[in-house]
Symmetry: C2
Subunit: 561 residues, 2 copies
């Protein structure tokens, strides 16, 4: 008889196939589950679980590591503490900054959890005429990525027109390429509000999942039409849970994190969604099912998502099932400790990605040809409950050629191209952002990640902009005296190499400082960063100018008199 | 608004995601389902289904086309009448006869149904020292097959020792290759009786399905350990259906045909299993689910197995749900007619595959060195209820050096190598086979398909053998006067190009003629053909001699005195 490495005894083990817990011992050999047995085969080590619950490691089928502003290495060391043992990462932020080579640098970083990849399908999110990025994921890059067996999906296709009407669009070409090279590979989607014929057209293009915010009716329609639904935190409502239970939709749903801010990552990951779902009345069994077995099956990962022979021995031991309280996590049979022995390393290129020139106060003067009088400005109005904005027109005073935006209670927003093209600065005016003197600057500006500064004080704005160049990226808040809060993001201008505890603290300080300047939004960090996101309505700004998102037309800051 | 090709109205459509029927219209465009709608969008053609049930085309996840002794083309024309619109074919018979090039010839034949492929994983079923085949599917051939996107699985891995204990075995190498090139591809298995640790070891090798005969207990154990179960006709019992329903095992099961004899194929295909399952108490909904959605999902075929946007418009219209009575079949939106316009064509090589020399009566004399007395013979005893055999010893008289097997009520079995190596004839004696004078000859002899003749009359045996060479393969019955029943199989010696109606009739005649000679078995054709199958216990014979299957040792016909 084989002497196995480890034997877990006295365990209540979740069987995903039968959807119930069973008393069984778990024999682990070479990091994978060898045998479920009620016998006690000879083992090097016996671990008595004293009747505790054991469930498979959690699998996050849709997420972006860079949303947490951290490296795959630091991310993995943190997320694994919360039971996440496998992720399917769509690293589209680093792809925007550094293209295929950036992706490949991320892919080779050490990680405590297993990382599979979805191909970023919208880099750039619009096109090179509307936004400058540091890289493009085109057909050639996609073909290269498809050679990698760890690449197992196409990530969130979102360009509806391109998919359904434009055979020459980048997304159409990428879908065709994936279908040809990997016909059985899942093509993941992002389709927030489509219904009826439009939803059908989206699915006809081959996209069979959605991870955007769900309503009960919308989710049911999508599933009935053959979509797999990925429930992220903002979709996780009591009504959604009730709908899942009422229609028994378990087979077609997985919980995912999508974006987790670094300060939240200190306190939990995918486990937080399970806690919440159970709290809303879902059985722990089905909550676990939808965070283990269904994402594994969706992604074709036959070797995990279950505690069964031949699967990787990724195990979570629970103190309490009803609250999903984690007692211990085993990765490939090894107990996960809080230590983080691995270290991420990146090329010099990624450490010198902010190729922008320092601005002066003069650069930030908003001048018009007329000497005085008024101008009509197209203003971005922030919506405090979403990442959408509204477009408003305001009449502003002009004095000695200078537009008097400050006295109108507005903030000035600049976006500076930072990939070495030295394009002119772009300006916008923002309503509802700040009410105190100061500035917020960042190179973490979705999706192109050019350099962006929002401010009410020119000296503070100059300070913020200059400091971002000096430290090669970050997210910071400045007054005219000093930088008051700062998250350095020196890797590609979007990622920190600090431990999550330190990074989370830094980000919490920036968030606090933004609030002190009067920024009002449920997620200040994401709100500011998406003022440059050209695929999220209504009026946004990139390094190429201000755009009406729906029409994809340039909008001038001032109307012609 | 798009003008669609076809609109099916007044339909009760099975929604596999919600597992229920819904009233909806089906809009079909370019052979795929465009939209499920309660509106009536403009259409070139409107088809009123008058409230009939519509279900997805059936998907057969495990089958061998050559089991029906026919071409992919003729097979497809027949099976599609019964609602089978997609098959995953493991063409291991033609691979045994003609290797990779034979497989590739089969793969390029026109077909009315969509054919995907599982890689034959056991060609030869043992090794070249135990049986001569016309081809070998080795690592190089497998690597070539993996380049083909229609190849989506590894077919029925069965070599337990090779998988679990022998890293140098062919099957171990093929599994490793598949895991490396296509980590998400399903690896299909054949594991009849394994349980406990042996079952676990089999699954540890990466094999996650089984299609052999199931018992309720065995099936439950396999599913609880992470196997997908493919239920073929011989597994389909009332007890199995009860177990599926009691434990809600629907997600982990598909109905498959495996082998359908040509005479049975005249009357039904996968639909017969659904009829039977429903008859045993399974709801029509779940029967359909396990013949459409689950096999598609198992095989990663996201584009079918459901009536939903973007899926191929493979539709079955039912007159009656409870009896699965088919009214019409639509393939890619086109009504299937009984006409068969396509024609299979094969190379000259495949038409001249029986490279054996004609035998004479002298060749078939069973001589020993002794002049007279007795010899102890190791005899193959047929079991009338399975393809297993038993090994028996019998004492036979010798007269003038010739063993007197006829007077002991035995039949003589010869196997002749037919791939051009001109190896010596091999002899066996069979008990319980024939009780009338005559002979049965075939080149359809699993798995190596050498030339095999079983007889009680030497002249009849010579006639059968000579005729098989003349017609380059077949399955026939002869007396000393004439060939009384004959299925010519000129393509690779195992496949007919005749229409299924004619082929089925021919095969029924051979079956009848075998019965007239006294052959007693529930499937005479398969029983005789598996006397040469070296992976099915107990005592079998190949062109290399007689083998004890369990020990894989050569067994001499006569014991030494």
């Amino acid at each position: 008889m084989t002497v196995i490495d480890q034997l877990f005894i006295n365990a209540q083990v979740f069987n995903v196939y039968l959807k119930k817990f069973q008393s069984t011992n778990i024999a682990v050999q070479d990091g994978q589950i060898y045998w479920l047995t009620n016998t006690q085969p000879p083992a090097q080590k016996v671990i008595d679980l004293n009747g505790k619950y054991v469930v498979p490691g959690l699998i996050d089928a849709h997420m972006h590591i860079e949303s947490s502003m951290t490296t795959p290495t630091a991310f993995s060391a943190q997320a694994i503490q919360f039971g996440t043992t496998t992720i399917i990462a769509d690293d589209h932020e680093i792809a925007n900054v550094a293209g295929l080579s950036g992706l490949q640098e991320f892919m080779k970083q050490p990680s405590l959890i297993d990382v599979f990849y979805a191909i970023p399908s919208s880099v750039p999110s619009t096109n090179p005429e509307m936004e400058t990025t540091g890289g493009i994921i085109d057909e050639a890059a996609t073909a290269e990525l498809l050679k990698n067996p760890r690449v197992i999906a196409l990530g969130e296709a979102m360009n509806f027109q391109g998919l359904v009407d434009e055979p020459d669009s980048l997304i159409h070409k990428l879908v065709t390429l994936c279908r040809s090279k990997r016909p059985t590979m899942p093509l993941e989607g992002h389709c927030p509000k489509y219904t009826g014929e439009n939803l059908a057209r989206f699915i006809n293009a081959g996209i069979t999942s959605d991870h955007t915010q769900q309503t009960p009716t919308g989710m049911l329609e999508k599933i009935a039409n053959g979509m797999f639904i990925e429930i992220q935190a903002k979709s996780l409502t009591p009504e959604i849970i009730t709908t899942i239970m009422e229609h028994q939709l378990y087979e077609h749903i997985a919980f995912v994190t999508d974006d987790v801010m670094a300060d939240d990552l200190q306190f939990g990951h995918l486990n937080k969604l399970l806690e919440k779902a159970i709290n809303y009345g879902l059985s722990p069994e089905m909550a676990i099912y939808m965070a283990t077995y269904t994402p594994a099956r969706r992604m074709g990962l036959w070797d995990r998502g279950a505690i069964a022979p031949g699967r990787v021995a990724d195990l979570i031991v629970l103190d309490d099932l009803a609250t999903f309280k984690i007692s211990a996590v085993y990765k490939k049979g090894k107990l996960v400790s809080a230590k983080q022995p691995q270290k991420a390393t990146f090329s010099d290129n990624l450490y010198s990605s902010v190729k922008a020139y320092p601005v002066t106060s003069t650069d930030l003067k908003l001048c018009v040809s007329q000497v005085s009088g008024t101008v009509t400005a197209n203003v971005i109005a922030i919506e405090p409950t979403s990442t959408f904005t509204a477009q408003q027109q305001m009449i502003l005073q002009v004095k000695n050629h200078q537009v008097q935006w400050q006295e109108a209670g507005l903030a000035l927003l600049i976006v500076q191209e930072r990939y070495g093209k030295h394009l002119p600065l772009q300006f916008a005016l923002v309503k509802g952002a700040l009410n105190q003197p100061g500035a917020i600057g960042t190179t973490w500006a979705h999706d192109h990640h050019n350099l962006m500064v929002l401010g009410t004080d020119i000296k503070a704005m100059v300070r913020a902009q200059n400091q971002l160049i000096k430290q090669q990226g970050g997210y910071l808040v400045a007054t005219n005296q000093e930088v008051v809060a700062n998250v350095p993001l020196p890797i590609g201008g979007i990622v920190s190499n600090a431990p999550i505890s330190k990074l989370g603290q830094q980000l919490a300080e920036v968030r606090q400082a933004m609030q002190s300047l009067g920024y009002q939004h449920f997620n200040e960090i994401m709100s500011l960063s998406t003022l440059s996101l050209l695929v999220s309505p209504d009026l946004k700004i990139s390094d190429r100018g201000m755009f009406d998102v729906k029409s994809q037309k340039l909008v001038s800051l001032f109307e012609d008199n």
